[in-house]
Protein backbone atom coordinates (compact mmCIF):
# COMPACT_ATOMS: atom_id res chain seq x y z
CA UNK A 1 0.00 0.00 0.00
CA UNK A 2 2.78 2.44 0.96
CA UNK A 3 4.56 1.82 -2.37
CA UNK A 4 1.41 2.94 -4.20
CA UNK A 5 1.06 5.98 -1.92
CA UNK A 6 4.74 6.89 -2.46
CA UNK A 7 4.52 6.54 -6.24
CA UNK A 8 1.34 8.63 -6.44
CA UNK A 9 2.88 11.32 -4.21
CA UNK A 10 6.05 11.39 -6.32
CA UNK A 11 4.06 11.59 -9.55
CA UNK A 12 1.88 14.44 -8.24
CA UNK A 13 4.98 16.19 -6.92
CA UNK A 14 6.69 16.08 -10.32
CA UNK A 15 3.49 17.13 -12.08
CA UNK A 16 3.06 20.14 -9.77
CA UNK A 17 6.68 21.22 -10.27
CA UNK A 18 6.32 20.96 -14.06
CA UNK A 19 2.88 22.52 -14.42
CA UNK A 20 1.99 26.18 -13.97
CA UNK A 21 1.73 29.40 -15.94
CA UNK A 22 4.92 28.27 -17.72
CA UNK A 23 4.92 24.54 -18.39
CA UNK A 24 8.28 22.77 -18.23
CA UNK A 25 8.71 19.24 -19.67
CA UNK A 26 9.18 16.47 -17.09
CA UNK A 27 12.58 15.51 -18.58
CA UNK A 28 13.87 19.11 -18.28
CA UNK A 29 12.51 19.38 -14.73
CA UNK A 30 14.26 16.18 -13.63
CA UNK A 31 17.50 17.28 -15.33
CA UNK A 32 17.41 20.68 -13.60
CA UNK A 33 16.74 19.13 -10.17
CA UNK A 34 19.36 16.35 -10.51
CA UNK A 35 22.05 18.64 -11.99
CA UNK A 36 21.44 21.31 -9.35
CA UNK A 37 21.67 18.73 -6.57
CA UNK A 38 24.92 17.32 -8.01
CA UNK A 39 26.35 20.75 -8.80
CA UNK A 40 26.47 20.04 -12.54
CA UNK A 41 25.83 22.74 -15.17
CA UNK A 42 22.27 23.17 -16.46
CA UNK A 43 21.94 22.73 -20.26
CA UNK A 44 21.07 25.93 -22.11
CA UNK A 45 17.42 26.73 -22.72
CA UNK A 46 16.23 25.14 -19.50
CA UNK A 47 14.52 27.49 -17.01
CA UNK A 48 16.48 26.74 -13.85
CA UNK A 49 15.19 29.81 -12.04
CA UNK A 50 11.51 28.84 -12.27
CA UNK A 51 12.09 25.21 -11.29
CA UNK A 52 14.89 25.45 -8.75
CA UNK A 53 14.22 28.78 -7.05
CA UNK A 54 10.44 29.21 -7.39
CA UNK A 55 8.51 26.00 -7.88
CA UNK A 56 10.63 23.41 -6.11
CA UNK A 57 10.76 25.12 -2.68
CA UNK A 58 7.10 26.05 -3.02
CA UNK A 59 5.92 22.54 -3.89
CA UNK A 60 8.09 20.96 -1.17
CA UNK A 61 6.66 23.43 1.38
CA UNK A 62 3.14 22.72 0.16
CA UNK A 63 3.67 18.95 0.38
CA UNK A 64 5.17 19.21 3.88
CA UNK A 65 2.40 21.53 5.07
CA UNK A 66 -0.30 19.22 3.66
CA UNK A 67 1.34 16.19 5.26
CA UNK A 68 1.76 18.02 8.57
CA UNK A 69 -1.79 19.37 8.77
CA UNK A 70 -3.17 15.99 7.77
CA UNK A 71 -1.26 13.95 10.37
CA UNK A 72 -2.15 16.55 13.02
CA UNK A 73 -5.84 16.24 12.08
CA UNK A 74 -5.70 12.44 12.17
CA UNK A 75 -4.01 12.53 15.57
CA UNK A 76 -6.55 14.96 17.02
CA UNK A 77 -9.49 13.00 15.62
CA UNK A 78 -8.16 9.88 17.30
CA UNK A 79 -7.19 11.57 20.54
CA UNK A 80 -10.51 13.36 20.96
CA UNK A 81 -12.50 10.42 19.48
CA UNK A 82 -14.23 12.94 17.29
CA UNK A 83 -14.15 12.82 13.46
CA UNK A 84 -14.92 16.55 13.36
CA UNK A 85 -11.80 17.45 15.32
CA UNK A 86 -8.57 18.76 13.89
CA UNK A 87 -5.71 20.92 15.08
CA UNK A 88 -7.92 23.98 15.01
CA UNK A 89 -10.35 22.37 17.45
CA UNK A 90 -7.72 22.83 20.12
CA UNK A 91 -7.60 26.54 19.32
CA UNK A 92 -3.92 26.21 18.40
CA UNK A 93 -4.38 27.47 14.83
CA UNK A 94 -6.27 30.52 16.05
CA UNK A 95 -3.69 31.11 18.76
CA UNK A 96 -0.89 30.92 16.22
CA UNK A 97 -2.81 33.35 14.00
CA UNK A 98 -2.90 35.98 16.76
CA UNK A 99 0.88 35.74 17.11
CA UNK A 100 1.53 35.90 13.37
CA UNK A 101 -0.92 38.78 12.77
CA UNK A 102 0.61 40.73 15.65
CA UNK A 103 4.06 40.24 14.12
CA UNK A 104 2.89 41.42 10.68
CA UNK A 105 0.89 44.38 12.04
CA UNK A 106 3.66 45.66 14.29
CA UNK A 107 6.53 44.68 11.99
CA UNK A 108 8.16 42.34 14.50
CA UNK A 109 11.22 40.77 12.85
CA UNK A 110 14.26 38.77 13.76
CA UNK A 111 17.57 40.15 12.47
CA UNK A 112 18.99 38.00 9.69
CA UNK A 113 15.97 35.70 9.41
CA UNK A 114 13.25 36.61 6.93
CA UNK A 115 9.83 35.94 8.40
CA UNK A 116 11.48 34.80 11.61
CA UNK A 117 9.42 37.20 13.73
CA UNK A 118 6.14 35.87 12.34
CA UNK A 119 7.29 32.27 12.85
CA UNK A 120 8.50 32.79 16.38
CA UNK A 121 5.35 34.69 17.37
CA UNK A 122 3.09 32.03 15.77
CA UNK A 123 4.87 29.16 17.58
CA UNK A 124 4.95 31.07 20.87
CA UNK A 125 1.25 31.93 20.67
CA UNK A 126 0.39 28.36 19.66
CA UNK A 127 2.10 27.14 22.84
CA UNK A 128 0.57 29.85 25.03
CA UNK A 129 -2.87 28.98 23.63
CA UNK A 130 -2.29 25.32 24.39
CA UNK A 131 -1.15 26.03 27.95
CA UNK A 132 -4.09 28.38 28.50
CA UNK A 133 -6.63 25.89 27.11
CA UNK A 134 -5.21 22.95 29.05
CA UNK A 135 -4.95 24.92 32.30
CA UNK A 136 -8.54 26.08 31.97
CA UNK A 137 -9.71 22.57 31.04
CA UNK A 138 -7.85 21.10 34.01
CA UNK A 139 -9.42 23.58 36.41
CA UNK A 140 -12.89 22.81 35.07
CA UNK A 141 -12.44 19.07 34.70
CA UNK A 142 -9.81 17.06 36.57
CA UNK A 143 -9.82 14.24 34.01
CA UNK A 144 -9.12 16.58 31.04
CA UNK A 145 -12.07 15.00 29.22
CA UNK A 146 -12.24 15.49 25.47
CA UNK A 147 -15.63 17.21 25.58
CA UNK A 148 -14.28 19.91 27.89
CA UNK A 149 -11.25 20.47 25.65
CA UNK A 150 -13.38 20.72 22.49
CA UNK A 151 -15.79 23.19 24.13
CA UNK A 152 -12.96 25.37 25.39
CA UNK A 153 -11.35 25.14 21.93
CA UNK A 154 -14.55 26.40 20.26
CA UNK A 155 -14.83 29.33 22.68
CA UNK A 156 -11.12 30.12 22.31
CA UNK A 157 -11.45 30.13 18.50
CA UNK A 158 -14.18 32.78 18.73
CA UNK A 159 -12.08 34.81 21.13
CA UNK A 160 -9.01 34.57 18.85
CA UNK A 161 -11.00 35.63 15.77
CA UNK A 162 -12.23 38.73 17.61
CA UNK A 163 -8.64 39.59 18.59
CA UNK A 164 -7.42 39.14 14.99
CA UNK A 165 -10.27 41.36 13.74
CA UNK A 166 -9.33 43.98 16.32
CA UNK A 167 -5.69 43.94 15.20
CA UNK A 168 -6.76 44.20 11.53
CA UNK A 169 -8.87 47.27 12.38
CA UNK A 170 -5.77 49.09 13.61
CA UNK A 171 -3.29 47.52 11.19
CA UNK A 172 -3.17 50.48 8.75
CA UNK A 173 -1.05 49.73 5.67
CA UNK A 174 -0.50 46.10 6.79
CA UNK A 175 -4.19 45.16 6.28
CA UNK A 176 -3.63 43.73 2.80
CA UNK A 177 -0.72 41.49 3.78
CA UNK A 178 -2.57 40.31 6.89
CA UNK A 179 -5.70 39.49 4.88
CA UNK A 180 -3.64 37.60 2.28
CA UNK A 181 -1.81 35.74 5.02
CA UNK A 182 -5.03 34.79 6.87
CA UNK A 183 -6.35 33.25 3.65
CA UNK A 184 -3.25 31.07 3.46
CA UNK A 185 -0.54 31.15 0.82
CA UNK A 186 2.79 29.51 0.17
CA UNK A 187 3.62 31.55 -2.92
CA UNK A 188 6.79 33.06 -1.49
CA UNK A 189 8.18 29.84 0.01
CA UNK A 190 11.96 29.63 0.22
CA UNK A 191 14.50 26.89 1.04
CA UNK A 192 14.77 28.37 4.54
CA UNK A 193 11.04 27.65 4.91
CA UNK A 194 11.60 24.14 3.53
CA UNK A 195 14.28 23.46 6.14
CA UNK A 196 12.18 24.80 9.03
CA UNK A 197 9.13 22.82 7.94
CA UNK A 198 11.19 19.68 7.37
CA UNK A 199 12.77 19.77 10.83
CA UNK A 200 9.44 20.44 12.55
CA UNK A 201 7.68 17.78 10.47
CA UNK A 202 10.29 15.06 11.08
CA UNK A 203 10.40 15.63 14.85
CA UNK A 204 6.67 16.11 15.51
CA UNK A 205 5.36 13.47 13.12
CA UNK A 206 7.85 10.90 14.51
CA UNK A 207 6.47 11.60 17.99
CA UNK A 208 2.89 11.23 16.75
CA UNK A 209 3.69 8.02 14.81
CA UNK A 210 5.30 6.51 17.91
CA UNK A 211 1.99 6.90 19.74
CA UNK A 212 -0.21 5.26 17.10
CA UNK A 213 -1.21 2.40 19.42
CA UNK A 214 -2.18 4.83 22.18
CA UNK A 215 -4.20 6.81 19.63
CA UNK A 216 -6.09 3.60 18.77
CA UNK A 217 -6.96 3.23 22.45
CA UNK A 218 -8.09 6.88 22.68
CA UNK A 219 -10.16 6.45 19.50
CA UNK A 220 -12.07 3.63 21.20
CA UNK A 221 -12.57 5.67 24.35
CA UNK A 222 -10.58 7.51 26.98
CA UNK A 223 -11.78 5.20 29.78
CA UNK A 224 -10.79 2.22 27.68
CA UNK A 225 -7.35 3.73 27.12
CA UNK A 226 -6.86 4.26 30.86
CA UNK A 227 -8.06 0.75 31.68
CA UNK A 228 -5.66 -1.00 29.30
CA UNK A 229 -2.75 0.87 30.85
CA UNK A 230 -2.24 4.03 28.80
CA UNK A 231 -0.94 6.95 30.86
CA UNK A 232 -3.81 9.10 29.62
CA UNK A 233 -2.69 12.51 30.82
CA UNK A 234 0.94 12.15 29.74
CA UNK A 235 0.15 10.79 26.28
CA UNK A 236 -2.54 13.42 25.73
CA UNK A 237 -0.10 16.17 26.69
CA UNK A 238 2.72 14.87 24.47
CA UNK A 239 0.48 14.53 21.41
CA UNK A 240 -1.05 17.97 21.98
CA UNK A 241 2.37 19.58 22.25
CA UNK A 242 3.60 17.83 19.07
CA UNK A 243 0.44 18.88 17.21
CA UNK A 244 0.55 22.49 18.40
CA UNK A 245 4.26 22.89 17.58
CA UNK A 246 3.78 21.52 14.07
CA UNK A 247 0.68 23.60 13.42
CA UNK A 248 2.45 26.68 14.81
CA UNK A 249 5.26 26.26 12.28
CA UNK A 250 2.82 25.59 9.39
CA UNK A 251 0.69 28.62 10.25
CA UNK A 252 3.71 30.89 10.50
CA UNK A 253 4.85 29.90 7.00
CA UNK A 254 1.63 29.34 5.07
CA UNK A 255 -1.07 31.12 7.04
CA UNK A 256 -4.33 29.47 8.05
CA UNK A 257 -5.05 26.69 5.57
CA UNK A 258 -8.39 25.20 6.49
CA UNK A 259 -10.06 21.84 6.01
CA UNK A 260 -6.91 19.79 5.26
CA UNK A 261 -6.69 18.45 8.80
CA UNK A 262 -10.40 17.81 8.88
CA UNK A 263 -11.22 16.28 5.50
CA UNK A 264 -8.09 14.34 4.53
CA UNK A 265 -7.87 12.01 7.56
CA UNK A 266 -11.61 11.44 7.18
CA UNK A 267 -11.20 10.37 3.54
CA UNK A 268 -8.04 8.37 4.26
CA UNK A 269 -9.82 6.46 7.02
CA UNK A 270 -12.28 5.21 4.38
CA UNK A 271 -9.35 3.47 2.64
CA UNK A 272 -7.14 2.35 5.53
CA UNK A 273 -9.66 1.88 8.32
CA UNK A 274 -9.30 3.57 11.72
CA UNK A 275 -6.12 1.80 12.89
CA UNK A 276 -3.60 4.61 13.38
CA UNK A 277 -0.67 2.36 12.46
CA UNK A 278 -1.97 2.55 8.89
CA UNK A 279 -3.99 5.77 9.08
CA UNK A 280 -1.20 8.11 10.19
CA UNK A 281 1.38 7.23 7.49
CA UNK A 282 -1.36 7.18 4.83
CA UNK A 283 -2.61 10.61 6.00
CA UNK A 284 0.89 12.01 5.48
CA UNK A 285 0.84 10.97 1.82
CA UNK A 286 -2.78 11.92 1.13
CA UNK A 287 -2.41 15.31 2.85
CA UNK A 288 0.66 16.09 0.77
CA UNK A 289 -1.07 15.05 -2.48
CA UNK A 290 -4.25 17.01 -1.68
CA UNK A 291 -2.45 20.24 -0.85
CA UNK A 292 -0.09 19.99 -3.84
CA UNK A 293 -3.10 19.66 -6.18
CA UNK A 294 -4.95 22.46 -4.36
CA UNK A 295 -1.88 24.67 -4.74
CA UNK A 296 -1.66 23.85 -8.44
CA UNK A 297 -5.32 24.79 -8.84
CA UNK A 298 -4.71 28.07 -7.01
CA UNK A 299 -1.88 28.84 -9.47
CA UNK A 300 -3.59 27.97 -12.74
CA UNK A 301 -7.36 28.34 -12.35
CA UNK A 302 -7.41 32.15 -12.74
CA UNK A 303 -3.98 32.51 -14.36
CA UNK A 304 -2.27 35.04 -14.19
CA UNK A 305 -4.10 35.89 -10.95
CA UNK A 306 -3.17 33.54 -8.11
CA UNK A 307 -5.75 32.45 -5.58
CA UNK A 308 -4.79 32.02 -1.91
CA UNK A 309 -4.44 28.27 -1.27
CA UNK A 310 -6.70 28.51 1.79
CA UNK A 311 -9.56 29.60 -0.48
CA UNK A 312 -9.11 26.51 -2.66
CA UNK A 313 -8.80 24.06 0.26
CA UNK A 314 -11.82 25.53 2.02
CA UNK A 315 -13.87 25.48 -1.20
CA UNK A 316 -12.94 21.92 -2.20
CA UNK A 317 -12.80 20.69 1.38
CA UNK A 318 -16.20 21.99 2.45
CA UNK A 319 -17.95 20.51 -0.61
CA UNK A 320 -16.18 17.18 -0.13
CA UNK A 321 -17.00 17.17 3.55
CA UNK A 322 -20.70 17.90 2.98
CA UNK A 323 -20.77 15.08 0.39
CA UNK A 324 -19.10 12.61 2.79
CA UNK A 325 -21.34 13.64 5.67
CA UNK A 326 -24.47 13.43 3.52
CA UNK A 327 -23.48 10.01 2.09
CA UNK A 328 -22.72 8.55 5.51
CA UNK A 329 -26.01 9.84 6.95
CA UNK A 330 -27.98 8.63 3.95
CA UNK A 331 -26.40 5.20 4.27
CA UNK A 332 -27.71 4.75 7.82
Amino acid sequence: MYIVFSLVTLAVFLFCVCAGSVSVPVKDTVTIIVNSLLGLPIPEGMSKFIIWFVRLPRVICVALTGAALSICGAAMQGLLRNPLADGSTLGVTSGASIGAVLAIAFGITLPGLSGGGTMLMAIAFAFFSLIFILALAYRLDYSLSTNTIILIGVVFNMFAHSIVSLIITFAGEHVKSIMFWTMGSLSGASYANVLTLLIAFVICSTVILCYSRELNAFAIGEDNARNIGVNVKRVKLIIMIAVSALIGVCVSIGGTIGFVGLVIPHMTRMVTGPNHKRLLPASIFSGAVFLMLADLLSRVVLNPVELPIGVVTSFVGSITFVYIFYSSRKGR
Binding site: Y142, N227, G229, N231, G273, P274
Partner: protein
Protein backbone atom coordinates in the same frame (compact mmCIF):
# COMPACT_ATOMS: atom_id res chain seq x y z
CA UNK B 1 -5.66 -14.27 51.18
CA UNK B 2 -6.70 -10.64 50.64
CA UNK B 3 -6.33 -9.51 47.02
CA UNK B 4 -7.88 -6.07 47.16
CA UNK B 5 -8.18 -3.95 50.26
CA UNK B 6 -9.95 -0.63 50.33
CA UNK B 7 -9.62 1.58 53.40
CA UNK B 8 -11.68 4.70 54.16
CA UNK B 9 -12.41 5.44 50.51
CA UNK B 10 -14.15 8.78 49.95
CA UNK B 11 -14.91 10.60 46.71
CA UNK B 12 -16.13 14.18 46.58
CA UNK B 13 -17.05 16.37 43.60
CA UNK B 14 -16.88 19.91 44.96
CA UNK B 15 -18.98 19.92 48.12
CA UNK B 16 -20.95 16.82 47.02
CA UNK B 17 -19.93 13.60 48.75
CA UNK B 18 -20.40 10.59 46.43
CA UNK B 19 -18.62 7.98 48.54
CA UNK B 20 -18.17 8.34 52.26
CA UNK B 21 -15.56 6.37 54.17
CA UNK B 22 -16.09 2.98 52.52
CA UNK B 23 -13.84 0.07 53.54
CA UNK B 24 -13.92 -3.53 52.33
CA UNK B 25 -11.68 -6.31 51.11
CA UNK B 26 -11.78 -8.95 48.40
CA UNK B 27 -10.27 -12.41 48.91
CA UNK B 28 -9.05 -15.00 46.41
CA UNK B 29 -11.57 -16.73 44.12
CA UNK B 30 -14.40 -14.46 45.30
CA UNK B 31 -17.07 -12.78 43.20
CA UNK B 32 -18.07 -9.65 45.07
CA UNK B 33 -21.29 -7.97 43.94
CA UNK B 34 -21.64 -4.24 44.60
CA UNK B 35 -25.34 -3.48 44.90
CA UNK B 36 -27.53 -0.58 45.92
CA UNK B 37 -30.08 1.86 44.50
CA UNK B 38 -29.25 4.57 41.92
CA UNK B 39 -26.84 7.18 43.28
CA UNK B 40 -25.47 4.81 45.93
CA UNK B 41 -21.90 5.29 44.64
CA UNK B 42 -21.43 1.83 43.08
CA UNK B 43 -19.79 2.97 39.83
CA UNK B 44 -17.76 5.58 41.72
CA UNK B 45 -15.90 2.75 43.47
CA UNK B 46 -14.92 1.39 40.03
CA UNK B 47 -13.90 4.88 38.86
CA UNK B 48 -11.72 5.39 41.92
CA UNK B 49 -9.99 2.01 41.48
CA UNK B 50 -9.33 2.80 37.80
CA UNK B 51 -7.99 6.23 38.87
CA UNK B 52 -10.71 7.90 36.82
CA UNK B 53 -11.93 9.82 39.89
CA UNK B 54 -9.94 11.68 42.56
CA UNK B 55 -10.26 9.96 45.94
CA UNK B 56 -9.05 10.01 49.52
CA UNK B 57 -8.27 6.84 51.43
CA UNK B 58 -6.18 3.87 50.41
CA UNK B 59 -6.55 1.17 47.80
CA UNK B 60 -4.14 -1.75 48.18
CA UNK B 61 -3.66 -4.59 45.73
CA UNK B 62 -1.74 -7.53 47.16
CA UNK B 63 -0.34 -5.14 49.77
CA UNK B 64 0.78 -2.41 47.32
CA UNK B 65 -0.83 1.03 47.29
CA UNK B 66 -2.15 1.51 43.73
CA UNK B 67 -1.11 5.18 43.83
CA UNK B 68 2.47 3.93 43.59
CA UNK B 69 1.70 1.81 40.50
CA UNK B 70 2.43 2.79 36.91
CA UNK B 71 -0.52 2.76 34.49
CA UNK B 72 0.71 -0.43 32.78
CA UNK B 73 1.35 -2.13 36.11
CA UNK B 74 -2.20 -1.33 37.19
CA UNK B 75 -3.58 -2.70 33.92
CA UNK B 76 -1.78 -6.00 34.50
CA UNK B 77 -3.49 -6.24 37.90
CA UNK B 78 -7.01 -4.95 37.15
CA UNK B 79 -9.11 -5.66 34.09
CA UNK B 80 -11.84 -3.06 34.15
CA UNK B 81 -14.97 -3.33 32.01
CA UNK B 82 -17.01 -0.15 32.02
CA UNK B 83 -20.70 0.16 31.16
CA UNK B 84 -21.24 -0.37 27.44
CA UNK B 85 -20.49 2.81 25.54
CA UNK B 86 -20.57 3.96 21.93
CA UNK B 87 -17.52 3.36 19.74
CA UNK B 88 -16.74 6.11 17.25
CA UNK B 89 -14.65 4.29 14.64
CA UNK B 90 -14.94 0.94 12.88
CA UNK B 91 -12.13 -1.02 14.55
CA UNK B 92 -12.26 -4.78 14.05
CA UNK B 93 -12.99 -7.09 16.96
CA UNK B 94 -9.42 -8.41 16.86
CA UNK B 95 -7.93 -4.90 16.93
CA UNK B 96 -9.94 -4.13 20.06
CA UNK B 97 -9.04 -7.41 21.77
CA UNK B 98 -5.36 -7.01 20.85
CA UNK B 99 -5.25 -3.62 22.61
CA UNK B 100 -5.76 -5.61 25.81
CA UNK B 101 -2.10 -6.62 25.53
CA UNK B 102 -0.91 -2.99 25.62
CA UNK B 103 0.31 -3.25 29.21
CA UNK B 104 2.68 -6.09 28.25
CA UNK B 105 4.40 -4.35 25.33
CA UNK B 106 8.13 -3.83 25.79
CA UNK B 107 8.37 -0.48 24.06
CA UNK B 108 6.92 1.95 21.56
CA UNK B 109 8.07 0.00 18.52
CA UNK B 110 7.75 -3.55 19.89
CA UNK B 111 5.68 -6.11 17.99
CA UNK B 112 3.27 -8.54 19.57
CA UNK B 113 4.87 -11.61 21.16
CA UNK B 114 3.81 -15.25 20.86
CA UNK B 115 2.26 -14.96 24.29
CA UNK B 116 0.25 -11.93 23.13
CA UNK B 117 -1.04 -13.93 20.16
CA UNK B 118 -1.95 -16.87 22.40
CA UNK B 119 -3.81 -14.72 24.93
CA UNK B 120 -5.73 -12.93 22.18
CA UNK B 121 -6.72 -16.27 20.58
CA UNK B 122 -7.75 -17.66 23.96
CA UNK B 123 -9.86 -14.57 24.77
CA UNK B 124 -11.58 -14.76 21.36
CA UNK B 125 -12.29 -18.46 21.88
CA UNK B 126 -13.64 -17.97 25.42
CA UNK B 127 -16.03 -15.27 24.31
CA UNK B 128 -17.05 -17.11 21.13
CA UNK B 129 -15.86 -14.30 18.88
CA UNK B 130 -13.38 -16.18 16.67
CA UNK B 131 -15.69 -16.03 13.64
CA UNK B 132 -16.25 -12.28 14.17
CA UNK B 133 -12.59 -11.34 14.63
CA UNK B 134 -12.34 -9.40 11.34
CA UNK B 135 -15.73 -7.73 11.65
CA UNK B 136 -16.18 -4.05 12.46
CA UNK B 137 -17.27 -3.41 16.04
CA UNK B 138 -19.89 -0.99 14.69
CA UNK B 139 -21.75 -3.81 12.94
CA UNK B 140 -22.08 -5.97 16.08
CA UNK B 141 -25.12 -6.24 18.33
CA UNK B 142 -24.94 -4.78 21.84
CA UNK B 143 -24.26 -8.21 23.32
CA UNK B 144 -21.51 -9.06 20.86
CA UNK B 145 -19.92 -5.67 21.40
CA UNK B 146 -19.90 -6.14 25.15
CA UNK B 147 -18.34 -9.58 24.66
CA UNK B 148 -15.62 -7.99 22.51
CA UNK B 149 -14.68 -5.66 25.35
CA UNK B 150 -14.87 -8.56 27.79
CA UNK B 151 -12.47 -10.43 25.49
CA UNK B 152 -10.16 -7.39 25.62
CA UNK B 153 -9.88 -7.52 29.40
CA UNK B 154 -9.52 -11.32 29.34
CA UNK B 155 -6.60 -10.87 26.92
CA UNK B 156 -5.25 -8.35 29.44
CA UNK B 157 -4.88 -11.38 31.74
CA UNK B 158 -5.51 -9.41 34.96
CA UNK B 159 -5.39 -10.74 38.49
CA UNK B 160 -8.76 -9.14 39.28
CA UNK B 161 -11.73 -8.36 37.04
CA UNK B 162 -13.73 -5.25 37.87
CA UNK B 163 -16.99 -5.01 35.96
CA UNK B 164 -19.35 -2.05 35.98
CA UNK B 165 -22.80 -3.35 35.09
CA UNK B 166 -21.45 -5.83 32.54
CA UNK B 167 -24.87 -6.86 31.26
CA UNK B 168 -26.53 -3.46 31.25
CA UNK B 169 -28.98 -3.20 28.30
CA UNK B 170 -28.35 -6.84 27.32
CA UNK B 171 -31.13 -9.35 26.82
CA UNK B 172 -31.50 -12.46 28.98
CA UNK B 173 -29.52 -14.76 26.68
CA UNK B 174 -26.49 -12.45 26.73
CA UNK B 175 -26.85 -11.87 30.48
CA UNK B 176 -26.70 -15.62 31.07
CA UNK B 177 -23.81 -16.12 28.63
CA UNK B 178 -21.77 -13.30 30.17
CA UNK B 179 -22.28 -14.38 33.78
CA UNK B 180 -21.57 -18.02 32.95
CA UNK B 181 -18.40 -16.97 31.15
CA UNK B 182 -17.17 -14.93 34.12
CA UNK B 183 -18.02 -17.78 36.49
CA UNK B 184 -15.98 -20.14 34.33
CA UNK B 185 -13.07 -17.67 34.34
CA UNK B 186 -13.06 -17.61 38.16
CA UNK B 187 -13.16 -21.43 38.31
CA UNK B 188 -10.36 -21.89 35.79
CA UNK B 189 -8.05 -19.06 36.86
CA UNK B 190 -8.70 -19.07 40.60
CA UNK B 191 -8.84 -15.27 40.46
CA UNK B 192 -11.45 -12.81 41.74
CA UNK B 193 -14.14 -10.52 40.35
CA UNK B 194 -15.79 -7.36 41.65
CA UNK B 195 -18.89 -6.30 39.76
CA UNK B 196 -21.51 -3.61 40.01
CA UNK B 197 -24.97 -5.05 39.36
CA UNK B 198 -28.51 -3.75 39.47
CA UNK B 199 -30.18 -7.13 39.13
CA UNK B 200 -30.44 -8.61 42.63
CA UNK B 201 -31.31 -12.07 41.25
CA UNK B 202 -28.02 -12.19 39.35
CA UNK B 203 -26.17 -10.94 42.43
CA UNK B 204 -27.73 -13.69 44.53
CA UNK B 205 -27.20 -16.42 41.94
CA UNK B 206 -23.55 -15.72 41.09
CA UNK B 207 -22.02 -13.63 43.90
CA UNK B 208 -20.03 -15.25 46.68
CA UNK B 209 -19.95 -11.97 48.58
CA UNK B 210 -21.80 -8.67 48.39
CA UNK B 211 -21.46 -5.01 49.34
CA UNK B 212 -24.67 -3.12 49.93
CA UNK B 213 -24.37 0.63 49.47
CA UNK B 214 -26.78 3.48 50.07
CA UNK B 215 -26.13 7.20 49.51
CA UNK B 216 -22.37 6.69 49.37
CA UNK B 217 -22.18 4.69 52.61
CA UNK B 218 -21.56 1.01 53.17
CA UNK B 219 -24.63 -0.63 54.73
CA UNK B 220 -23.56 -4.30 54.77
CA UNK B 221 -20.58 -6.38 53.66
CA UNK B 222 -20.08 -10.15 53.73
CA UNK B 223 -21.25 -13.42 52.14
CA UNK B 224 -24.13 -12.80 49.72
CA UNK B 225 -26.79 -14.56 51.81
CA UNK B 226 -25.87 -12.55 54.88
CA UNK B 227 -25.99 -9.23 53.03
CA UNK B 228 -29.10 -9.75 50.90
CA UNK B 229 -31.44 -10.16 53.85
CA UNK B 230 -35.05 -8.95 53.83
CA UNK B 231 -34.27 -6.27 56.45
CA UNK B 232 -31.12 -4.96 54.76
CA UNK B 233 -32.80 -4.62 51.37
CA UNK B 234 -35.89 -3.00 52.87
CA UNK B 235 -33.80 -0.40 54.67
CA UNK B 236 -31.90 0.50 51.49
CA UNK B 237 -34.59 0.30 48.80
CA UNK B 238 -37.49 1.58 50.97
CA UNK B 239 -39.67 -1.32 49.86
CA UNK B 240 -40.20 -5.00 50.60
CA UNK B 241 -37.83 -6.29 47.92
CA UNK B 242 -38.17 -9.91 49.07
CA UNK B 243 -41.98 -9.83 48.93
CA UNK B 244 -41.97 -8.16 45.51
CA UNK B 245 -39.39 -10.54 44.01
CA UNK B 246 -41.25 -13.59 45.37
CA UNK B 247 -44.50 -12.24 43.96
CA UNK B 248 -42.88 -11.68 40.57
CA UNK B 249 -41.38 -15.17 40.46
CA UNK B 250 -44.67 -16.78 41.48
CA UNK B 251 -46.14 -15.50 38.20
CA UNK B 252 -43.89 -18.03 36.42
CA UNK B 253 -44.90 -21.07 38.47
CA UNK B 254 -46.75 -23.74 36.51
CA UNK B 255 -49.84 -25.17 38.27
Amino acid sequence: MTVLEIRNLSVKYGSLTILDDVSFSVGGKQWVMIIGPNGAGKSTIVNAISRGAPYTGEIYFNGTDIKACKSTELARRFGILMQSSSVGYSFTVEEIVRLGRYAYSKGILSNSSKEDDYKVERALEMTGLVHLRGQSILTLSGGERQRAFLAQILAQDPELLILDEPTNHLDLVYQKQTFELINEWIENSGRSVVSVVHDLSLAKAYGTHALLLNRGRLVADGPTDEVLTRENLKSVYDMDVYGWMSDMLSQWQVD
